[in-house]
Amino acid sequence: MIRRLLIANRGEIAIRIARTAREMGITCIGVYSEADRDALHRKAMDETVEIGGPLPADSYLNARNLLKAAKGTRADAVHPGYGFLSESAGFAEACKEAGLVFIGPDPKAMSLSGDKIASRKAMRAAGVPVTPGMDRVVRSVDEAGEIAARLGYPVMFKATAGGGGIGMSRVDRSSDLRAAFESAQSVARANFGNPDLFLEKYIERARHVEVQVLVGRRGRGLHFGERECSVQRRHQKLVEETPAACLTPAQRRRLCETAVKGFLRIGYRNAGTAEFLFHGGRFTFNEINARLQVEHPITEMVTLVDLVRQQILVASGLDPEVSQDEIHGHGHAMECRINAEDPLRNFLPSPGRIVGYREPAGHGVRVDSGIAVGSVVPPFYDPLLAKVIVRGRTRPEVVDRMARTVADFEVLGVKTNLPFHEALFRERAFQRGDLWTTMISDLRIVERMHGRGPREERIAAIAAALAAGRGPEALARALPLQRLPPPAWALAGRKDLHGGADAIPHHRRR
């Protein structure tokens, strides 16, 4: 069993991993960038190490700094979380070479999974149905035009080194090909350092269904059921649920067994997720995620299995705690991702300082959060603040519970997508379980939002009461005027990116 685990991540997932590791008697070593000196996740660790500047490339994406931290703290294992280096075969390899146990698949399987074209080919060879497309890199707009004509529009450009819904570009007609090709290449290059694209048929009104798999060290594959992640905005998941309302028991069985078969075929070990599109009553392979997913808690809620615990056991050379016969899903679970984004301003990221925070609670409510009152949400990282996970006996009960839970969640100081979730849960299509990946834009849910919730309306009332019958001079006299200092977060990172020392206030030397 590993004894000292370095958690190479931040925010809610670092805290969540540490909880399980500490339950297993493992010492947790956390890492943090300069921008995260006051971050909540540091408090969840037994020890912490500063690993570099605010930019991910200098810290959470910096393998050299992470390995140095692991060596300096005598860690014997590394958990990469999700995002950052969790799907970097190079990092997994470097950990292996440094004698560190990597909590995840081995570099070769990770490499294959990370190459979207190679994984499609591997799945095809394993007899897994694959979404129609061309399994080779598209070298030019002309070539794209030929392939697209054969597949039939609409088609979609995808980054071969990509994932997480980034760098996907839908094309409806040949005249749009060039712009989509160039945009997808640019995003791919910026995010993955590799502009290579391939083409897939774009499936209209598809549902996104994925299967959680765990392969034990002796090559025994287990599945923990499926998750539906159809509620997305720009290919980023916002709400996930299990089980998927659209599957019959027979389809569920076939889907899950197919996923396990696929993972076994590519020699995968530890936890992973196979993503599929469900359309026209059948499913086709989309991609493999060789990491723990953001939405893994909903699977934990219905199966009662701690997935991080299983990951650590398998990585330590032990067997998972359950056999396939012992894995059952009870009831329904849903997760809402709470991001620091303003739904009334095109979901513009909203970094800042949290000045008020109240988590929801109750029967069947779990909150995995990376913030508390006083936390600074820096501008450098993913805007995910917290995940609200709800379980219940039936889907309607879970929908009611999540609507209440989201209304009870108060976050002050940054804009969040909480009001968006409230609007979504009022939608009849959503309540019925009628989901598809473009439903948010198709139903114009955001366009129909008017305000950010009851609290904002009360603020409008205050402003109205102050302003009524008063011009600016009278208003200035009506309330004590404060010279508000610029909020501390406003100074965060507001220096030249190339060179100047960063101006994050409130840091302490430990």
Binding site: V187, Q236, A460, A464, A465, P480
Partner: protein, 164 residues
């Protein structure tokens, strides 16, 4: 008029159109139509079907019985409806800043263009996404502080909108 209001430590940008009792209030760009009436103690503010009772006691404001700590600052008049009578229109210049550093990948408008509130001024690539920066107000695009393809720090002004 425009001002900043801090409620329980959270700062908001407020725009007010009209002098009362019917007002249009924008809280960080979200629009509310309010009707304010005076009561014996404080005001009744009607927004939609709801009525809010507001009592102002120094820097403590009660809304429907719940107390909030409130401060204001940066009060500015904008436009004829703010009470500036006769002599010339008051024009406000609104600076548009990015929420974080990033790369400007698209600038769909040119200097001098008429813009509407919510219209996209720039696309900023940052935090794994392409972020569309909307115009905070109706007006004219007075200046552009960035170029397409440029990587900018968080304190750069992307654009200045002249509102009327």
């Amino acid at each position: 008029m425009r001002f900043r209001i801090t409620v329980d430590g959270e700062v908001h940008d407020i725009e007010v159109e009209g002098l009362g009792p019917r007002l249009v209030i924008r809280v960080d760009g979200a629009e509310y139509r309010a009707r304010v009436g005076k009561e014996s103690a404080g005001s009744v503010v009607r927004i939609g079907p709801r009525r809010h009772h507001v009592v102002i006691r120094g820097s403590q404001v009660l809304v429907d019985g719940t107390a909030h700590r409130v401060e204001t600052d940066s009060v500015e008049s904008t436009g004829p409806a703010s009470g500036v009578s006769g002599a010339g229109r008051v024009v406000a210049l609104v600076e548009v800043r990015p929420p974080m550093p990033g790369r400007i990948v698209k600038l769909p408008l040119g200097v001098g263009a008429t813009v509407k509130r919510g219209q996209i001024l720039a696309v900023l690539e940052a935090m794994k996404m392409q972020n569309e920066i909307p115009s905070p107000a109706d007006g004219t695009l007075r200046t552009l502080g960035v170029k397409e393809g440029e990587s900018i720090p968080g304190d750069r002004i992307i654009a200045v909108i002249e509102t009327r």
